[in-house]
Symmetry: C2
Subunit: 590 residues, 2 copies
Amino acid sequence: MPEFNAPLRDMRFVLHEVFDAQALWARLPALAETVDAATADAILEEAAKVTGQLIAPLNRSGDEQGAQWHDGQVSTPEGFQQAYATYIEGGWVGLSGNPEFGGMGMPKMLAVQFEEMLYAANSSFALYSALSSGACLALDAHASDTLKRLYLPPMYEGRWAGSMCLTEAHAGTDLGIVRSRAEPQADGSYRISGSKIFITGGDQDLTENIIHLVLAKLPDAPPGPKGLSLFVVPKVLVNPDGSLGAANAVSCGSIEHKMGIKASATCVINFDGASAWLVGEANKGLAAMFTMMNYERLSVGIQGIGCAAASYQNAVAYARDRLQGRAANGASAPDKVADPIIVHPDVRRMLLSIKAMTEGGRAFASYVGQQLDLAKFSPDAAEQDRAQALVALLTPVAKAFFTDTGLESCIHGQQVFGGHGYIREWGQEQLVRDVRIAQIYEGTNGIQALDLLGRKVLADGGVTLRLFTGEIHQFAQQPDAPYRAQLIEAAHRLEDLSDWLEDQAANDRNEIGAASVEYLHLFGYVAYAWLWARMAQVAKHKLQDDPEFYGAKLATAKFYMQRLLPRVLGLEQAIRAGSQPLFELSAEQF
Amino acid sequence: MPEFNAPLRDMRFVLHEVFDAQALWARLPALAETVDAATADAILEEAAKVTGQLIAPLNRSGDEQGAQWHDGQVSTPEGFQQAYATYIEGGWVGLSGNPEFGGMGMPKMLAVQFEEMLYAANSSFALYSALSSGACLALDAHASDTLKRLYLPPMYEGRWAGSMCLTEAHAGTDLGIVRSRAEPQADGSYRISGSKIFITGGDQDLTENIIHLVLAKLPDAPPGPKGLSLFVVPKVLVNPDGSLGAANAVSCGSIEHKMGIKASATCVINFDGASAWLVGEANKGLAAMFTMMNYERLSVGIQGIGCAAASYQNAVAYARDRLQGRAANGASAPDKVADPIIVHPDVRRMLLSIKAMTEGGRAFASYVGQQLDLAKFSPDAAEQDRAQALVALLTPVAKAFFTDTGLESCIHGQQVFGGHGYIREWGQEQLVRDVRIAQIYEGTNGIQALDLLGRKVLADGGVTLRLFTGEIHQFAQQPDAPYRAQLIEAAHRLEDLSDWLEDQAANDRNEIGAASVEYLHLFGYVAYAWLWARMAQVAKHKLQDDPEFYGAKLATAKFYMQRLLPRVLGLEQAIRAGSQPLFELSAEQF
């Protein structure tokens, strides 16, 4: 059975050497007293133990058993209850939560490393707490103090979990047509009726309570997405002192049978006049829910990196061990019946592709984490705004690019195993099945791409985009910056294409959707080029300290620039073909 | 539950309108008396019924139940026995088999259409007969008359099945290190001992007998692949009159638990001094087995097309039906709560990508089928040789490109469904799981790429490649050829790159493996460009006859040329980076 060992050395490299997290933390008052490099390293080491020893061993058995539903109750696979109980003792659910209500107040830059480990170890298990952390974030940002005091402490503790109830059978991407209704009650509460589907962790047997965040419409709500309000709906009613009361009118109607993440219960949740409390303002629920959604988008993006990292570890171990064929230029293990397959260039190509995309993604996630920390903790309002704009721009890229390339990486990692990659016991096929959902949920990657190009890049005429490409240009002006020419070319390519798309979209709004997915990918490749150049810059200066480690960074950067970045050429040409080739067929002609 | 309806109109388009099969058949004596356009159409219609009504309905239940193994016996899922019995009554296993021994002698160009339907309907079911057909081909080509008379008739009938026993636990790609042994007996037979793994249909409950084709080594065999001999090893011994005798010493040790094709039994087969008969010459077993392997390579390539075609049908139906969001330029269904998602450009992009790759692949498979028919039936030896060379060149492209792009297509088809694509009942996720194996078995796609570039393109200094690109140039010289400039550029790109790789490989054999997968993809995109231009040429002339149908071909050709063909840009640049970026890391540095 495959093991998982968190790539701690690589994580520390990104955190400390590439982004100098310690220096940032030291200048942000709220973090200066909470965390330093040593604390961060200690947390990561503990996280590595928890994920590697407690949670990863349940990954395959969890997939085999799956979550089960009987008589309205979900049971998680064997071992999940015990592991969850141990897990929450570490306070991991509230790792970056608000200390005022029991959170640990750690920076997001650190939390993203932990999330990667968690998804790498066991994506299904990870989801039970990922939804809780996101729900806490939304409550902390939008709920009244009363609600926060009541709900946040047990949720940060992990004793209660959170869920996100958006989708209905007829309303997925299109939340404006949601039908769930909220009736105001005399006491200021509401009663919600409706049925939600695809609710991750909508029911389970891990926590005493589940706090559903539910989008529903008030009686007088305007039509469309502007008529949505956000409610907190506990599975078990909560007394004013925080103790548990009677069951609420919330039930789990069934769970889905899925391709993967089988140990995660994906529920139909029925609300039959369930008691509910408004979060934030009436009819502004979608914006409030987006606090959680953006959290989850980055999170499931990181699922893409985590699954790829796990697949990579397994594939490297197999490629070093499996003997098959001979190296093209002479045997590398002449005393054995064959050479290890890691001598073959195509096996190396697959491994390096995973390595380059996974480490590039890790750096990107850390950069987004850094901006999230600045947006939250910076004492400088202008810096906060700038960081917030970058987060808004980069979140859809993170979600979609990490997961599209995460699938590709898991496919590579499976392919390295040959026939054994297709067999369940080796674990590689599960990673493919598990990572696949990350391209779909929390807004399909197509929706992320529309969000990026339509709402983030074009909506402000490229101002935020220039914030980002400005960072690339600034880096490329450093005399010791590696790959300067490529970076400048890449940034200009992205800028020029964005300008061109702005002109196109002015005439035809379909140009946005026609270009968006390829545009997002091109954006991702350009961003990774910058991050790889940054990593190479650090590695170049430290090469003598540890030639093995830093040499690998330099070699992987080169591989990325020479063998993966060229994909932008085809992407750009496809985008410039415009929307017209997409609209020549009537619906019937397909 | 999804249905499958064979794309008969599209198949007839390729067969009759693009390739004018009737004219070819009329000039090949062996086919002139066997088949004409009307017969072919009748066969395709019958095939559509069998696959759509008999076999497709067992696809999902077969996946749910899977093949089972108890006490050394495999049982196939419910309904398979009955369906198989009905299926073989149609003579489908021997569709293109030798009429001298009971085959129907139909052209391969027709058979590839049938195979596509079969895989589209139910890949697991398809495999039970695909292996039989391939085994028959090898026996027909290499076995003695005695063996042929004994085995071929019941195999063509489908009463007995075939299997292909190559892989051992330590020997997959590297067959030279196979350990199975064959001991000669006084009566001219052999006794085989050894254990084979990954044997598709190695055991089942559908047929009276299973005829294993087994690679093993004779006592005096030279080491490596040149020491392999091919044997026929029946599960049940066959008396000289063709009746069944005692059980042979062949047993099924277990079956694999797999990502997909779960209804297909993937067996460990143990030979414990099993009676065996030599096929062809001693120590020339690999060449003989390649007759079967090349058959299966094209066949599993077609699995890629079939699964994509099935996914496409489901996705189009869903996209026309599912209401979500509004068209960017104004509502298309203002009376409904939302527009069907087929109005959205990105949904169209996904559907058109599948359509372009599936129909391109179908045309390519038909072209290879045409060349196979010429190689087999042409009365002109030069034409036979030319066709055989093209088949050898194009088989690895068909196998790997159909399946790599087949996975991409099935992923797109799943993505169109959003969250429902991840749920088992909709069938799209099964297609992803089922098609994934086709990139792995019958030689991984990495191996196909090495075969293409190393053995097919470079080994004869590009002579065979020029046969193929010559066809493109010849087509592009026609004054009414669409996309002439693009085609000439594409063919030159492929030729120049091949020449460059020949120079590179002369200095470093690793350059072949470093380039091979991207090279195969580039080859595939260039080939599809030619085939789409051919299809567009036909459609252009017939547009007035059926504007809906031919208009769709023209639009899809344009989409292909403008939005998919540009991928060659990135592929070429990655290839030209050479092998060096792959070899900077030691095995330990990964």
